[in-house]
Amino acid sequence: MIRSRFLGAATIAALIFAVSPAHALLSRAWVSGHGTDAAGCGAPGAPCRTFQYVHDNIIAPGGEIDVLDPAGYGAVIITKGISIVNNDVGEAGVQSSSGAVGMTISAGEGDAVYLKGLTFSVSATGIRFNSGASLEVEDCHFITVGGIDFLPTTTSSLSVRHSSFAFSVRGINMAPQAGGSVNANIETVRIVGEGISGSFGIRLDGSQATSSTPSMATVVYSRQIYDSAGFSAIGSNGGAAQMNLIIDNSSASGDTVGIAATGAGAVVRLYQAIVTNSSSRVLTQNGAQIITYGNNVMDGPAAGMTSAPLQ
């Protein structure tokens, strides 16, 4: 009763003081290289120009921004659940000023963000995820120093599908922060590194994690070459939670270390994986584990793995 009275009062106040134009937020809005960021834009015949304007002014939470034609659509900060979809109309680019992140996601705890068909050309990090329920990245291309930094402070999920990373120093970095944990599925991804010190393809890094909730990242049907570490897991802060990395039907090659596990609670599982042409195929340190199902292909012996039976 109190709540509905309050809402009623708020509604009346809104009616009295309704000064902004009465454009309802849309569940679908369009952007185009020929569009204009102006009040009321978003219909296919009157598209907007940038992701940020639509996010801030036009689209409802849970809605979908669609790309009408090829253009650069600008850097963007996302603070609510939203989809951005380019279904093969051509380049839908995200660039940022030198050293700045391309897309920052700081959404609410229940918010789902879905991205399809974007190209990130950024001299820093392509996508930095700080908060939200989930992030899905599909058919995206990263020409970036850092591809995706996934840094949740609650339990959040990450999906990366059919995407590529080029000239990459840090491909996909999943590092749960204090209170955070990660559930990630990475499939059909290709990462080409730069071969420089400290570089990695895909890394699950628990060093900042304080939650006892385990993190789990699965890499399926993916290819990685030419990094300091191909696929790696780093144990959680104090070893409170397991950091589980599963490499399933995927390959690492041309790395200083193909598969690395470091620190208590870091567990990497290798199932039908390929590790070749690397200075060191596997590296297990400081209480971490690399578990093999005995069905992986390597171009020489690899010491320090634990065997698990197929069932």
Binding site: S27, R28, W30, P44, G45, A60, P61, G62, G63, E64, D66, V67, L68, G81, S83, V85, N86, N87, D88, V89, A112, Y114, K116, S134, E136, E138, S157, S159, R161, N183, N185, E187, P214, M216, T218, V220, Y221, N244, I246, D248, N249, R269, Y271, Q272, Y293, N295, A308, L310, Q311
Partner: protein, 313 residues
Amino acid sequence: MNRTAFLSAAFGASLALGVAVQPAEALSNRTWVSGKGADSGACGLATPCRTFAYAITQTNAGGEVDVLDPAGYGAVTIGKAISIINDGVGTAGVQIGSGGTAITVAAGANDAVLLRGLTIEGTGIGAIGVQFSSGASLVIEKCTIRDFTGKGVFISPSSTSSFAISDTVISHIGFYGIYVIPSGSAGIDGLVSNVSIENAGAEAVDLSGSFSTSTSALGVSVVNSIAANSGGGFFTDTSANQAATVLTVRDSASINNGAGLGAIGPNAALRLSRSVVVGNSAATSVSNGGAIYTYGDNGFDVTVSGLIQAGLQ
């Protein structure tokens, strides 16, 4: 000649009567929709229509509705054999409001329906992405089905039919990702290939024989697919005196679900090969006479008891 004469006569008659009847144009085997179109006329390439629902009324059974450019094309119920095809021209969107079903297939017993390249969004309030309630077959290719409160794909025919879902993403679903539950005496034959099902509240894939009295087993094969972060991974169930089920899972992964695999009920069988089952609250859930068969080539993160060994041949 006869047909032209008939059409002229019909047109003349409608003019004479002064009645606004539909123009008596012949239906086409191919119609077009566009964001710039209008729902009138025959939906030809030069004068496309605006919605799937209208374009279907202008399309012969067995024909195609093709997408010309990016737009939202509206929720639709399909009552005959039709293909709706977006071959990469941009978003061909289907949204639905609160509690609704975005695409319903309620076609005839011999009708084949195909959906390709659609972005089907519930925006957190729609109930069902695609429901197949009748028809001979349903093919879903290269679609994205997201953010529904109920089910992603709901296969619920009452006569025997088949379906195939491939190269598709199903995510953020309140209950089932793909729920296959024929009724009456309906059998089913299904394929799920290159499909990612993530963040479903209930099972990512569930094949249920509980409503069917089919005397042949209900069969669904899942290949190269992922079930993750869901209430359950790959499940099949049935009840006493109902249809037997066989859910075959190969080259797939069940990750971080409530239970990774399930076989519940007499004559509910799940067959597993070359798959990874890791990070689930329980690796398997088997009860009431259900069975999980393994070909001995799967990776688990726990030692699983009760798997039935099957030989490769």
